[in-house]
Every structure is written in C-alpha cells, then in structure tokens.
Point group: C2
Chain length 402, copies 2
C-alpha cells in the first residue's frame, strides 16, 4: 500500500469507528494505532469488559457490541472480556450501593446466557472470549499491593459516584477502590490497544492507560460510548425502568416499541442502533414524514436481528393493526381469568398505563377502545369475553383470551 | 485458688500493667481476660508489632518493650511480631510522606540489629518472635479483597494523618489503606489477647478488634502507650531530633543525658522508664532536692541496662566531673587533627551548641572554659593540645586527643 492509500484507509476506518462515540482518548493516538495496524497488517486488540451479572441484553447493551462488530468487520481482534474475577467484587458504577459478590455458579450461568445473546450481534468464531480470573487469580498479594501503590486516595475519590456517595455519607467499601485498578490491570494483561466503555466507565478505562504506562506498554485508546436513552426519551435504557427493547423481543414487539418513541429521539437512535450513513439519515429526517422515518428505523432494527423478510412482515403487521385497523392478523394475547373488570383497573393490569391519572387522561381523550367502542368512564365495567380487543392510543393493542 | 485470691491476683496484675498506659480498650475486658487466664492457668497472648525499618533503639522505643517484660514476668506469652511483610508496604503513621518499600535484605539486616538490642530488655528465651510474611504471603487476592470489603473509605479517612494529608492535598497512596487492615489481620492470625501500641497506633489497633469480630474471635484488648517525650521536654523522643538516649549509649552518657532534663520532666520519666512505685516517686519528688531526684533517675536507668555496679560508678563519675570538678576520671574524648580553632567553631564541631547565637550567649555568660580558663570571645583561638579539656555549661565536657 502506498502512503496515500494507507492514509485513506486510516480515514475510512476512523470515520466508521468514531460513529456514535462520545469521546475518543485520544483521536490522534487512535489514528496512529490504525496506521500502524494497516502498515504492518497487524490487527488492533480491542477490549470490551463485561461483568456477567445480569442476563437479558437490550439494544442499549448492543451499542458497544455493534461497535465491536465494526472492528471485527475491519479485521481487528475483538477481545470479549468476561469479568469472572471482578464480578466477585462488584463495581458500584452508577449505583448507589455496594454490589453483592456473585457466586461462581451464578457467574457461569450468566456467561452462558450472555454469549447466547452476544452471538446475535458478533461473529463468535472471530471473537476471542477471555476470562480475567485467568490472570487475576494468579496475582499475589504483593503484586496487588504494588498496583495499589500506583494510585492515590484523591484520584479514586474523583470518580463521580464515589465522591457523591462519600459526600452523602453513604458507605464506599474499600474493595470498590480495587475495581478500577483490576479493570485497568486487565488491559495490561491483554496488552489492549483500544478499550470500549460507556460514559460511566471513563474513569475505569483511564486507569488502564495509567497502568499500561507504569508497565511500559503503549497506552490503550479509550473509546467512550454514550449510554442509549430509553424509549421514554428521558432515562437511560434499563430493564428495571421498563423502557427497553430486549434483543430477544419478538419482531412485532421491536417494531411497535420503536414506533412508540418520540420524533426527537429518532436521530439519536438512527446513529446509535443502525449503520445507515448519517448523511442519508439527515436527508430522510428533513424530507419525510416522521411516521415514515420511524417505520424505517423499526424496519432496520428488526432486520438486524431477524432478517429482511421478517422486518417486512413486521412492518405490514404494524400497518394492518394500527393504520388500516385490520385485525385479521396475529395480535398480542393476554389471558384473563376474570369475566369483567373496571376500565381503569384493566388498563393498569395490561400495563398500558403507569399511573391512574394517565389512565384517566387517556379515557377522557377517548383513546381507549374495547372492540372499537370508546370507553367513556374509568369505572365502566368491561366484559372480558374471549377475543375481546382492547386498544389504547395508537400503538397499544391486545386480544383477551380465556 | 479461691475466688478471692483470683480477684486479688487480677487486681495485682492489672495495677502493674496499667502503669504508664494512656488508654486501655477496655479495662473491663482486660480484667476479664486476666481473670480467665489466672483461673485456667492459660497465659494471655500479647502482641507488639514492629516494622523493622530503623536500627537504633532509644529509651522511647523501650517503653512498650518494658511493658512486654512486665507481661513476661507475670507469666504471659509475649509475641514480638516482626512486620516482615508489612514493612515492604510502609506505614505512613505520623509521617507526612508515603514510605518507601524496603528490600528483603535490608529487612533481615534490621531484624538482626533489632533483636540484638531487644534482648537488653526482654527475655529472648521466653519471647515468641513471629514474622507476618508467614501468613500474609499466603493470603490470596480474593481473601485480601474480602478483608478490604469489611472496611469503608470513610472509616479509613478518619485516621488523623490520612485526613490531614488529604485536606492538605498531599498524596495518600491506596496501599497505605491496606496497612491498618493487614496489621489487624495479624491479630486474627495470632489470635492476640492484647495488642500494645503507641497513641498514633490506636486506629490500627482498633482495626484488629474489628477483624477479630468478623472472624468470630474474642476481641483483643488495645493497650495504648503514650509516646515518650524527648530530652528537650517538648518533642517526642526521636533519633532525627537528637533528643534521645540510645539504649546502647555508654553509662556515663546515659547518666549525663538524664541529668540534663528539666525538673518538670522527671515525674513522667520516673513513670515511663523505671519500675519505682509511683507512691514512692511522689514522696521523693516532694521531699528531696531535684538534683538528687534526677541522680536517682539516672542511676535507675543505667542500672537497668548495665547493672547496679556500673550505675554507682556513673553516678560517682558525674559527681566527680560536674560537682567536685575532679577531672582524674575518664572523660569523653574527641580526636582533632587541627592544632587550633576559633572558640565558636570549636563549640559547634563538638556539637555543644546547635546555633551560633547559642554559642555567643554561652561565651558571654562565661559558661565555656578551656582547661578551667574562661573564654571571653567567640573569636578567641583555642590551642588544641593533647589533653585539653573543654567544658560548656554544667554538663558538657570533653577531652581533646590527637
């Protein structure tokens, strides 16, 4: 390759990879690493660390995984680091309480579930799965103390969640100070070139740079990814807040959930969860009806997990149910033992509303229909016969079954 | 033994042992432990931890060692804990900077020198010398992390020197947080009943109690000893401040140094460095001339390290030289190559003065004599013939030799 071709290839890879990043520390070092990689035909070592503490991945978790896929497609070596050791410690990042240690059995179970889901996004054959207990278990107390000696208390306290909890007189266990250091040491053990992490991980990622320097290694580039906003457009996407799309959601659920987001959120979702060139996104949003743009977004998401055919079917399903009001399609079904129930209670049981006042408002607006008849009062008693169709607003619909 | 005899024996031991203690945490627990020990004829396990970082012991270091001797004499088991592992970490207690790690060779050399000196005070045959690398080296990273998880950042920051350094923006290395914990774990490993330490060690000693509780052991009693004041009566006794009496000082040096302390300091020294009953001390100080009381104190100190005969000789020597001005005794000798020297420079070279203005004042007061002739001017040139006797004030005298 000529110098010019190398330079062009660096720019090409850089443009693809920087998409959706909040910060790259540093862009200059990253370009330099890409250049060396291309020149010497030597893949970069990319690291993403995950604590196998949860089990269900949502499309927020998928954001960094998709970034790893881009690295894979560009020929780099992706290391999927399972924090088998560190999970036993628990990292409090972004949480207000010290996390409980996990048993080894739970960890193993979680890893299995994780990889089952990860393979929906990454090429598992090309993926290097590594477990940090392999080197951390071998670390002697003396080596650990040497690592600790490389950091000061003031440095640690700077981490936002630590300082916050300390000033609120909430306990921070000493073990939590070791987490960023052990995570940093993982980078030394792996000789990582790039580490990916969400915004809240920035502090920990930088400790990897500190330690690599102390161990006379080239410092890793830190690629900071923003945290995906949830469907509500306000909170971060999380299972506990219910504002998420699981990567195992059914195609129609995925489609419907995307259709429920606000118009404002679309731009961000296009950038974070699709590969459509940003120029094209900009044009589309400027020149097409929001409903059309949202359908395209939903289509792209379903396509990624289920393929183009299913994506087309989901789109058709959605249009039938919500635009054409054609109910001769498969609808989500909910089983009820009760034969009748007041309207407000029904909406709540169906999880169509999160507060009673929301239900009252929707009913007042005439947005709630049972078998296409508007419900007028929150106390109206609904007959729950088999096949009853309950609709709430434009995007929520179920069929009652006995 | 009858209940009454046991009770009396508890009181007897308690009275001997509490002498010179600043605080016992708690006195009640201590009496309970003594009672159990006497009842079951089972010696208490006493722990004193020492970092083998320095080499020359002074009578300030001897204070806790003398306390251990009392325990030995009462039949308890004294564990002299050498911090072979922790010395590699370095404890910043009372210091403003992170201490450097020591090499294993230096540590071994220091232990040798230590024990050589310790045997002047303790019965080495009855002493159990233990080294904490024996259990700390075996501690796995996971076990260490569990220990860390038992403490919070806020607890650690409460240690005075940590909080001071943090608020002065001086670095506190994370490794320093592990020191009190490892010291506490030593108590678990030893199953210590009592740990001795100076005031500045109180925080660390209490962590031993915390950990023993976590390990379901009976908590150790913490015996807090004050730090001995130096000869100047102001600063703590320390080699670097020069206000100390080495336990290897010559008998006449020991005697002379005690004679140089202020009258006010005597009571404290009697309590801390002799075994004379406190009632007797009180009587003596009330009814005798301070000079006599000081001679008795000096006599007791020399007697402890060199025996009664030598103590008598030292007393005689002191009286000859300073009271009777009889110089037909052995005097401290200083070798000089120079044949002459201005008076002020000579005083400085002999370390009789610490500043030039002090020298000027002493000469003005007529306190400096060479061969019994008063020196009148700081610039007077002194002839340094073999055998010249230089005297400064009432307690400093040397013989110049060639």
């Amino acid at each position: 390759m000529s110098e010019l071709e190398i330079k062009k290839e660096v720019e090409r890879q850089f443009e693809i990879l920087k998409r959706g990043c909040e910060e790259i520390i540093s862009e200059e070092e990253f370009k330099k690493k890409l250049e060396n990689s291309i020149k010497n035909n030597k893949p970069l070592k990319i690291k993403l660390g995950i604590d196998p503490t949860g089990s269900e991945l949502h499309i927020g978790h998928a954001v960094p995984l998709r970034k790893l896929k881009q690295f894979q497609d560009l020929g780099h070596e992706v290391n999927f680091l399972i924090g088998t050791f560190t999970a036993r410690i628990g990292d409090p990042t972004g949480k207000s309480e010290t996390r409980k240690m996990l048993s080894f059995e739970t960890i193993q179970e979680n890893i299995k579930t994780y990889l089952e889901q990860v393979k929906l996004i990454l090429d598992l054959d090309k993926l290097k799965v590594v477990y940090n207990h392999n080197w951390l278990e071998k670390l002697t107390l003396e080596e650990m103390l040497k690592l600790l000696s490389m950091f000061t208390v003031s440095q640690m306290i700077q981490r936002e969640d630590f300082s916050k909890r300390l000033s609120n007189n909430q306990p921070v266990s000493l073990i939590e100070f070791t987490y960023p250091i052990l995570q940093g040491y993982d980078s030394v053990a792996l000789e990582a070139d790039v580490e990916l992490g969400a915004t809240e991980q920035k502090f920990n990622l930088l400790r990897g740079r500190d330690l690599q320097k102390n161990f006379n290694q080239e410092q890793q580039v830190c690629m900071i990814m923003p945290i995906l906003v949830g469907l509500d457009g306000v909170e971060k996407m999380s299972k506990s807040l219910g504002n998420y799309i699981s990567i195992k959601d059914t195609p129609t659920d995925m489609f419907g959930k995307i259709m429920s987001i606000s118009d404002e959120l679309m731009q961000n979702y296009y950038e974070m969860i699709t590969n459509i060139p940003l120029e094209e996104v900009k044009d589309m949003l400027a020149n097409h009806h929001p409903m059309e743009c949202k359908k395209r977004l939903a289509f792209e998401l379903v396509k990624e997990y289920y393929g183009e055919e299913t994506a087309k079917e989901s789109k058709l399903w959605f249009e039938n149910v919500f635009s054409n009001k054609n109910l001769n399609v498969e609808l989500p079904e909910v089983k009820f033992d009760e034969n009748e129930m007041p309207a407000l209670e029904l909406l709540s049981r169906l999880k169509f509303i999160s507060t009673n006042s929301e239900g009252r408002r929707l009913i007042d607006q005439g947005a709630v229909k049972v078998n296409d008849v508007q419900i007028k009062s929150i106390n109206e008693v609904i007959n729950l016969e088999n096949g009853t169709i309950v609709r709430c607003g434009k995007k929520k619909i179920v069929k009652i079954v006995k």
